[in-house]
Amino acid sequence: MENRSWRRRLRKLHGRGSLMAGASVIALFCLVALFAEPFAPYAYSSQSSLEPMAPPTPIRFRDAQGRWRARPFIYARRLVDPSTQRYEEITDRAYPLELFTRGSSYELLWLFQANLHLFGVRAAGAEAPRVHLLGADKFGRDRFSRLLIATRYSLLMGPIAAVIASALGVLIGVIAGYKGGGIDIVLMRAADVVMALPALVLILAVRATFPPGLPPDVAVKLALTVFIFLGWAEMARLARGLTKELYQRKYVEAAVSLGCSPARLIVRHILLNAALPLTTQALLILPIFLLAETALSFLGVGLQEPEASWGSLLTAVDSNLFKRGHVFAELSPALAITLFVLGVRLIADGLEKKKREREEREVSSSYPLTSPRTGGSS
């Protein structure tokens, strides 16, 4: 008896494990997206001619004379060799770092002005060097700050497009499944065709018919529209299949015979029960939208300068990367993308396990599970 119970508990934890891990990762990203400006030492668009294309600033505790200091500090650097982007430190003056520095001002949570940053160079004047955790790009902008602010945009575009496209897909799918017949056939054929199309090629073609210098909000709306037009199909198919299947259940039959209106039937009995697999599927296709936006920005037709998106931060990468030496710094947006997608997948995996657990319970009990919220009544 004891053996079986701990094994079962371990399995439950395992299913919970992916869910928790994934949720923590996503929560972390949301945190960064909300508080990007305070976490970042500098504004994402602030250029500087001091250190273009600089490697990450070495943070030291031990100065050139060999003395140890209590505070970490950095040295100013000067460009020694422009062709290989080699910098040399100027060791006469040490600039200590501190937590909670006052720096450039921003709007905290879009509510009120603030200028507190998590860390930075203490008492930074115009001549003080900048602490670049991930180095600087060719305009001298801090890569770390840009990476943090890019989180905001990527987190906005991907999920919003996914949510709207999924909602549309579920609507179409439920209609197709509920009505059946001709409407069902037409809608599902349309879904098949849309699913088969090469999405990115079409998105690029649509984008190209508009002038390159579109104002950013128009470009965003355009991209969103095309994503939604091309992305509803998968959810529609799933919703249609689920609707058809759930329609066969006993409690739906009971509800219909009791005179339940179609709208109430769909919402309370079908949608509520289908919520779990639908959410799982929506989570699985979310990364596709995110990656589509990343690809657009990477190819230069998405978000424009000076705004930052993970994709646009990667455009500077070329085959000379390894020669330049700071691979991690330049590929850090790639790591961010991968981690985010991994987090979403882990949540989806966790939900999938929950669904399986629920199905096992349903099979093992004598009666089919009633609708979880209504308890069997309409």
Partner: protein, 310 residues
């Protein structure tokens, strides 16, 4: 079978018409064309007007569309406004190259899925099984863009670079060995998908009655695996392959750009950059047609595999 092919062809033509109509309609809404994309300020207004007249860009949109459709129906996709060569000539070789890339990626995915999937399904819970789970998670989560950049960074400093690295030479052989790194990268999400499906399908098939019957008859294990479990597993895999073609075409845009494989994807990118509308239309239509053709092939194969569907 013939009915399927016929209805698919009809459907395909319908879809292509809609796509081309959509792009032309957007052109009408957006304004601007290849001539306005030439942002050299020394080109006078007069010259621009003449250029437009020569290229037929000043005719009303409806006329342009009608001309384009009637020409396309005859196989003439027009002339590139930027490079001044027939569009089809620009598309032909890159189309073949992307085809080779897609075929290679699919082959890699099938190979890995079948070998690892069968091995993992046979010994549930073993290290192979857990390795497969890890592979699936990683391959599905890592974006192809990331893989491509990593691969590029990795081979950049090695002598491998000259052999399999990016090429700007448009005379690259279609069957060149340079396709291999791109194919591996492109196949990553496919590997995840196919592996997961194969493993599940074979696991299910191994529990079936007919497998037990075959084993009782004395059929050797390898024959059991091949003949009895492969057929039911291959079915869904073929369907999934068909559905993944659109994704492969989309993925090839980024992978080709980064890895330097001069295929349809790279052509799309350059057409977008120069706003070369005839080329863009041609590429879009050819890409969509290719994907739909691939889907049709997958459906035919499906029916061949499972006679019950015929």
């Amino acid at each position: 079978m013939l009915r399927l092919i016929f209805s698919r062809l009809l459907q395909g033509v319908f879809v292509l018409l809609i796509i081309s109509l959509l792009i032309f309609a957007l052109l009408a809404a957006a304004g601007g064309d290849a001539v306005s994309a030439l942002d050299n300020s020394r080109i006078s207004e007069e010259t621009r007007k003449t250029l437009r007249r020569i290229d037929g860009l000043d005719r009303p949109l409806r006329e342009r569309y009608w001309n384009w459709v009637t020409e396309a129906a005859r196989g003439n996709l027009g002339h590139s406004l930027v490079l001044h060569v027939p569009v089809w000539r620009l598309i032909r070789l890159p189309l073949l190259r992307t085809g080779v890339l897609a075929a290679a990626a699919l082959s890699i995915a099938w190979l890995v899925a079948l070998t690892l999937g069968i091995a993992a399904a046979r010994r549930a819970g073993s290290w192979i099984d857990r390795l497969c789970s890890v592979i699936i998670l990683l391959a599905a989560s890592t974006p192809r863009l990331v893989l491509a950049l990593l691969a590029l960074a990795l081979i950049a400093s090695t002598p491998l670079f000259n052999v399999v690295g990016p090429t700007t030479d448009s005379a690259t052989e279609v069957w060149s060995i340079r396709v291999i790194p791109s194919a591996i990268i492109l196949s990553a999400p496919l590997v995840a998908l196919f592996l997961a499906q194969t493993r599940a399908a074979i696991r299910e098939a191994l529990d079936e009655e007919f497998v037990r019957a075959a084993r009782a008859k004395g059929v050797p294990e390898w024959a059991v695996l091949l003949r009895h479990t492969l057929r039911p597993a291959a079915g869904p895999l073929i369907t999934t392959s068909g559905f993944s073609l659109g994704g492969v075409m989309s993925g090839s845009v980024v992978v080709e750009k980064v890895m330097g494989w001069p295929g349809l994807g790279q052509l799309t990118v350059s057409a977008v950059e120069t706003r070369d509308i005839p080329l863009l239309l041609g590429v879009t239509l050819v890409a969509s047609a290719a994907v739909m053709a691939g889907n049709l092939v997958a459906d035919i194969l499906q029916r061949l595999n499972n006679p019950r569907l015929r």
